[in-house]
């Protein structure tokens, strides 16, 4: 043992690099990976924009009414963010788990946190990208109007409202294979979006659906967003409903992550 030659690293480092540096590194490369598949980015931006052009812009009683138009933009924006969150985390996590590169990345000297945080930031970036065309269309083709402060508050609310969907997406992604995750995400997303009033304003709902709607996280998020953008008060239970679902989905996501670790890594 005394004859052991010097190892290639002269001074063995005492720990991993700064977690902020590592998070930035992971974010940079996750962003690159996402952006290299342009259809994934465009698809996310396209559907809500098309919905705007087909269902909102041609209806002058909606498009030319500042309140109704702002509500329509808000609903579709929340839909864009929910859809990006569920797909990025649900499908993205499920796909990553199947890649042989995944265990390699796990063995690099970085804990799970930089990768997780980078994933959430990356999801948020692309969710915000999805909002850009909606805001532009709303601005150019409808009477929707917001002040800069309202817009910034709205973006804050929309990011907060996306948290339960990020967590639900993770729960799906860590529980299912990519093949199973895709239909599950779709089956969850569209009914929730419709019942939450993201496509049709809840004022048009029959009263039973309106009641049902108020317990969904999408409706709670929509009403809070509309409140931030127009000042129209959200129903009293909006925050408790949103936070309640956040708690439920956090539990689901943590359980799914632990079970996945248990199955593959313990």
């Amino acid at each position: 043992m005394t004859t052991a030659p010097a190892a290639p690293t002269q001074a063995p480092p005492s720990g991993t690099l700064n977690p902020v540096v590592l998070t930035w590194l992971h974010l940079k490369f996750q962003f690159l990976e996402t952006v290299r598949i342009p259809i994934a980015v465009l698809g996310n931006m396209l559907f809500p924009s098309l919905a705007m052009f087909f269902f909102v812009v041609p209806q002058s009683q909606v498009a030319q009414n500042p309140l109704a138009a702002t509500m329509a933009v808000a609903g579709l924006s929340l839909f864009a963010v929910c859809s990006a969150s569920l797909f990025t985390y649900g499908l993205g996590v499920a796909e990553d788990r199947q890649l042989p590169f995944d265990p390699f990345v796990r063995s690099l000297p970085a804990g799970p946190a930089p990768r997780m945080i980078a994933r959430i930031l990356n999801g948020a970036i692309f969710a915000l990208f999805g909002l850009v065309p909606l805001i532009v269309i709303g601005w150019l083709f409808t009477a929707a109007s917001v002040t800069l402060l309202e817009l910034l508050t709205g973006i804050g609310v929309i990011l907060a409202a996306s948290v339960p969907f990020v967590l639900l997406g993770m729960a799906v992604g860590y529980s299912l294979s990519a093949k199973a995750a895709l239909p599950v995400v779709q089956v969850v997303l569209f009914p929730l979006a419709f019942a939450g009033g993201l496509f049709l304003p809840p004022m048009m709902f029959p009263s039973w659906l309106d009641t049902l709607s108020q317990v969904t996280p999408t409706r709670a998020g929509r009403d809070l967003l509309v409140q931030a953008l127009t000042g129209a008060d959200a129903y009293a239970w909006a925050w408790p409903v949103l936070l309640g679902w956040t708690a439920v989905f956090t539990t689901l996501a943590v359980v799914a992550y632990r079970r996945d670790e248990g199955r593959r890594f313990r």
Partner: protein, 298 residues
């Protein structure tokens, strides 16, 4: 200080026991080859050492720390499976990404130069050939100037020249003082590189010895001969079997001595053939034995 310490490790997947009470120590600067058929438990053992899994029983230490602790792994290099490189990232980007985890990475251009991949720097990894992906995989294991590298089947599926080039890179790293644990199911590869050989099968260490020691054990000859006399219990025959057509197949470490004994004994025989036993046959010899070879369980 040992670089790798595996002590009494058992790992099960459901009701399959992948590793059964395995112990293994690797000292700094060693180049250890782990040899075993597919499914022997080699990859599972590497995944325990690299902190991807934890053992059910026993302890694994890497560079004096817990391999599941990210800080311990700053001194570790491993190869990704070449099929798993993110296809949309460029070669240079993958090296930057992996190197970015280490305090003093080899500059990307220098590393790619060493592995002959300079002209591929801007190519997406999805467009590389199998051999180029293998080279990139081994390059990635060295980018962080690790003190120990784990190489899982580093040259499987490569042609002779490409394999030789990778072997040179591994030798060069080892000559610089690095510790290497590599797995292979090619005897030839282990023979070309390793100083010490660990034979593993069905999750058990069958032998742990110097290269020469192992070679003399697996360096069996197969003698087949047609005769009516039962030769399978002769001295010098480590294993023998009767084929239906009257031919006996005898495995022996010293075919010359056996043939000499056969001729002088006056036994009637015909169709004498001698050839080297294949690695599979050598394994069968080591593995079929109910009494593990001496050195096993070490």
């Amino acid at each position: 200080m040992t670089v790798i310490t595996v002590d009494g490790v058992t790992r099960r997947f459901g009701d399959v026991t992948a590793l059964d009470d395995v112990s293994l120590d690797v000292a700094p600067g060693e180049l250890v080859g782990m040899l075993g058929p597919n499914g022997a438990g080699k990859t599972t053992l590497l995944s325990l050492i690299s902190g991807q899994r934890r053992p059910d029983v026993g302890t694994v230490r890497l560079l004096g720390g817990d391999p599941r602790d990210a800080a311990t792994r700053v001194g570790l290099g491993i190869t990704p499976q070449e099929t798993g490189l993110p296809p949309t990232l460029r070669v240079g980007e993958v090296v930057d990404f992996v190197g970015g985890h280490f305090p003093d990475p080899v500059p990307t251009a220098e590393l790619l130069e060493q592995f002959g991949l300079t002209d591929k720097t801007r190519k997406q990894t999805g467009s590389l050939s199998g051999g180029q992906k293998r080279r990139l995989a081994v390059a990635l294991s060295l980018v962080g100037r690790p003190r120990v590298v784990l190489l899982d089947e580093p040259t499987t599926g490569l042609d002779v020249t490409a394999r030789q080039a990778l072997w040179d890179a591994i030798r060069q790293y080892h000559a610089g003082g690095g510790t290497v644990l590599l797995t292979s199911h090619y005897l030839e590869e282990v023979q070309a590189l390793a100083e010490r050989v660990v034979v593993i099968d069905h999750g058990v260490v069958r032998a742990d010895d110097s290269l020469d020691g192992i070679l003399s054990r697996v360096g069996l000859r197969r003698v087949s001969v047609r005769t009516t006399t039962d030769l399978t219990s002769w001295s010098g025959v480590s294993r023998g079997e009767h084929r239906g057509d009257g031919v006996q197949q005898l495995y022996t470490p010293d075919a010359d001595a056996l043939v000499r004994a056969l001729v002088t004994s006056g036994v009637e025989f015909s169709d004498l053939q001698i050839r080297g036993a294949s690695l599979e046959e050598a394994f069968a010899e080591m593995v079929a034995d109910d009494n593990p070879l001496e050195g096993a369980g070490r």
